[in-house]
Amino acid sequence: MIEGSTQAVELGEIFRDHAGRLVDGLMRRIRDFDLAEESVQEAVIEALDHWPREGVPERPGAWLAAVAHRKALDRIRREVRYREKVAELTSRPLDSYAEPEDRLRLMFVCCHPALSRDAQVALTLRAVLGLTTTEIARALLTSEAAIAQRIVRAKRKIDLAGIAYRMPDDSELIERLEHLLAVIYLLFNEGYLTTSGPEPLRRDLAEDAEWLAALLTRLLPSQAEPLGLLALIRLQRARSAARFDRAGDIVLFEDQDRALWDREAIASGIKLIERAAALGPPGPYQVQAAIAALYAEAPSFDRTDWKQAVLLYDLLVRLDPSPVAQLNRAIALERVEGAAAALAGVDELADELAGYHLFHATRGRFLQELGRRDEAASAYREALGLTANPAERSLLERRLGDC
């Protein structure tokens, strides 16, 4: 059992290394995103069938490339509309290592703003990271049919709406990059929140997100924000081991055993922030990373430099005036000015964040702090109605019990 699941993780890493390259390589040949993506997905599924029984081939990338190539040919031969592509594929075999790959272009297409965020996420997971539809559904806690439909619709839109397979123009790069970063951070949060301890059969999206962010820093070395995002993810993941107790319950940040934090990851995150800072004025991910670094470096929760945290949040809210940033600012503000001031700040966000469980959970905490138990309890109940995550639910239920 344990051996099998370790293997599943290893296979996932192999697919992640090759899938995006292969989609890009095929795409370059046949200029048909749907066909390229579908063929690589079929190769991954075939590998999942063969490798656990027969062992991983010596050159797994070449194996996947050969199968994807064959799958594409099969499909082309079956479908009349693909006839003219046969020549392109049969003239040269696909060798993923023979030519420079461009996963960056693939990432920009998958995260095109004309696609819904849900579609961007699903496409990135499948085309760039090589997850199967089943794995995506499991990781995102949704049904396989829903994911499959999302991917079909997205690829249909790419085709019919004329979303080109190319890099954005220089003038669009920064704006388009924001979508890419947002998708990666969303993957991270999905993974970070849904993972409550070792769950061998479920893909760790937080790890995938860190891998993607690292890839992006290599592909866009002159941009600061990918470094900021990588730093942010690394600093948050550094606390992974302290986030859950043995029973799988969430341990609050203030109660975490700091000896369990990964000091090496923290040092690496801080180094990344410094590298990003050298590239220009900070963007929102760099500021969030700086806040995470501030928390990570404090000797204890109480001795955290909360004033500095509020200042950094002020900067963040200026760069990204989103209600979620303002909510997080209020959490730091509570340590400096108390729960009443923090509650006032949070109440202003009620309209925008009514559907966000952490808004109600945070409000509940401030109300509880102020001794307004009935209101706190109803805020916690509101939060419970908005999250399906078991670890978060159990924390909220514990809090509700204290009211």
Partner: protein, 126 residues
């Protein structure tokens, strides 16, 4: 690829334009005119029109027989067919390489409002 850009705006958006002083209206229309001429010269803009206000719209709703085909009867009503907050104020047909180019053109539209981009399909194709 060919796309239709549908220009929409709220009722207030169109009203506020009509309430502007004449010279402001003229200057805005001149910018639209310049946009049209530049894009036509570049071969991107194939055709386009401003539409009379939605209060002049007439909707013809065809009736369908059991087999789904029109039965020759129709319901004629006053007003636009979508009862939306936003009204369509005009359209252009453009021809550009891809969606990014269409988005860039929409972003350069000098009159504000909301723009929907729809790829064109041939009438006779499925």
């Amino acid at each position: 690829m060919k796309y239709m850009l549908l220009f929409a705006g709220s009722e207030e958006y169109f009203d506020s334009f009509r309430s502007f002083p004449e010279d402001v209206q003229k200057a805005a229309l001149a910018r639209v005119d310049q946009w049209s001429r530049e894009n036509t010269a570049a071969g991107r803009l194939l055709e386009g029109h401003r539409l009379q206000p939605s209060s002049t719209a007439t909707t013809v709703r065809l009736q369908h027989a059991q087999n789904g085909m029109p039965n020759g009867k129709a319901l004629i009503t006053d007003g636009p067919f979508i009862d939306a907050k936003e009204r369509i104020g005009g359209y252009v047909i453009i021809e550009v390489p891809d969606l990014d180019a269409a988005i860039a053109m929409a972003k350069s539209w000098p009159a504000g409002g909301t723009i929907e981009i729809r790829p064109l399909a041939d009438l006779q194709e499925a």
